[in-house]
Symmetry: C2
Subunit: 297 residues, 2 copies
């Protein structure tokens, strides 16, 4: 089967639905690419598009979306609550099936070079596609945002782009293109309206406070449901699975006399993330991915 | 994506490895078909082959295996512990992806007709491919086995085949070709060597004694492991999932003060069976198959 990669580009437009639609239309026109979703956030003035496909068509679609964003978005007039540096702010490529991070990094390099050369936008490779160690971290690449980068590119050698001109694009800014592992957005709901326990559990399990590796977690109240929630991003479900965090939260909530009310999978997940969760939740001994029929095709 | 069907034909040979190998070689030669496994059982004097592929090539592979079995197996000399009526005894087609039972039934009809016409073997359509209500049940089709059918075909109108001559093939016997849903072989192990509890739970959960629908279950001792086991076939995991039986067994064992030690998935399962198990085990609210990326391709 063809290798399949996901692309989840972020654009600095969340208030003009017609512009969001034009960007989505740019990728829908590419044969072989499956458009999955576009979500716009007016507060952040930002939208996120989700699509999957084989590397060639997917790269073409990402490039076209970027070209459309450059045509329609003026960063000198952009305001919004999320850090941003360009009309197309960040273009992550993510392995789904039959492709690894190195394939995604290669695709990021190709697409980044086209954006730099053909659109005249400075491009920084980040994540697993980074060619400088300090650019693995997206926040470091985006430091200073559009306004800061406008000064820094061309004067600070540390901010020299990987592709494109050594000056910011006057309206489209700069773009980060990269590769990362699949991010699973998974929430576990607790049968108590009081968010204190959810916050305590989130703190205990998040990687940054010494909890489970590759887990980002916050606790919050779900007022309408009368519940609370441990809201998570799992940045490598192969290391810490959905089943692992679910069981850990269930145990910790149980110790506090609170039941788990259910869970939510936000957006998409590769079947591998769910298959691994099943194997772990059901304690299947010696489970092999080769036992999944579709993996044998 | 191409529809994908599984075929799991059973042949009346489990003692001569070279004949088993020749049958397997017959399907390996068909482009587009993925050969997965062949298992021979000397006691039953029977082997089971597992393969997947798109309907066309898969039907061709099933036919070729059947032709090879007819050439190499003589039912007049066959002995074994399992009921059987032909060199190729039964050919089930099973939906895997993008194909339903009706597609499998159609394929069974086509392959059955070829076996009848080109090989001169009487063929009975069974399961979801049955064209007479009483032939939905394979045991009814196979009643009397090779020796009994030799007398009945051609004299008893109820035993008239769906395809092929109204007399048994002198050496290859008769063949049942059909369609059924995917069968998941799933076992749950209990942390006690005494099989009494496993047998009691098996009896409580099996469909035939009023337990969970589409569950066949027996209890047995696992002497080497010092454990016992509820050994199951789930004949429709959409109705009763792996997660459901796991949880049910865990609860019943827990009530008896015994822990679940783990579980085993025997052979293969479609990713859908595991994805549903994960969604159920993790209590994912509002889970949709469309959230699985590969389902969107």
């Amino acid at each position: 089967m063809d290798p399949i990669i996901q692309c989840v580009p972020n654009f600095s437009e969340g208030r003009r639905p017609e512009v969001v639609e034009e960007i989505a239309a740019a990728v829908k026109g590419v044969d072989g690419v499956t458009f999955l979703d576009v979500e716009a956030d007016a507060d952040h003035n930002r939208c996120v598009l989700t699509m999957i496909g084989p590397p060639g068509p997917l790269g073409e679609a990402a490039f076209r979306a970027c070209a459309k964003a450059a045509e329609r978005i003026d960063m000198t007039a952009h305001q919004g609550g999320h850090p941003r540096m360009g009309a197309t702010d960040v273009v992550p490529f993510v392995p789904v099936r039959g492709a690894g991070l190195e394939d995604c990094a290669r695709l990021a390099g190709k697409v980044g070079e086209r954006i730099g050369t053909e659109l005249g936008i400075p491009v920084f490779l980040y994540g697993e596609a980074a060619r400088r160690e300090e650019r693995r971290n997206l926040a470091a690449v985006r430091k200073g945002q559009f306004e800061g980068l406008r000064e820094a590119i061309g004067t600070d050698p540390a901010r020299e782009p990987d592709f494109g001109p050594a000056r910011i694009h006057p309206t489209a800014g700069a773009t980060a293109v990269g590769a990362r592992f699949f991010l699973v957005a998974f929430n576990v709901n607790l049968a108590t309206p009081d968010a204190k326990l959810a916050r305590r559990i989130a703190k205990a399990i998040r990687a940054s406070s010494g909890g489970l590796p590759h887990v980002k977690a916050i606790g919050l109240a779900l007022e309408e449901k009368g519940q609370s929630q441990v809201s998570m991003n799992l940045t490598d479900y192969r290391v810490t699975s959905m089943a692992k965090v679910f069981e850990e939260i269930r145990r910790r909530a149980g110790d506090a006399g609170v039941q788990v009310a259910g869970s939510e999978l936000i957006g998409f997940a590769p079947s591998d993330a769910l298959v691994r969760a099943a194997a772990e939740a059901l304690a299947i001994e010696g489970f092999e991915p080769g036992q999944v029929l579709e993996n044998r095709l």
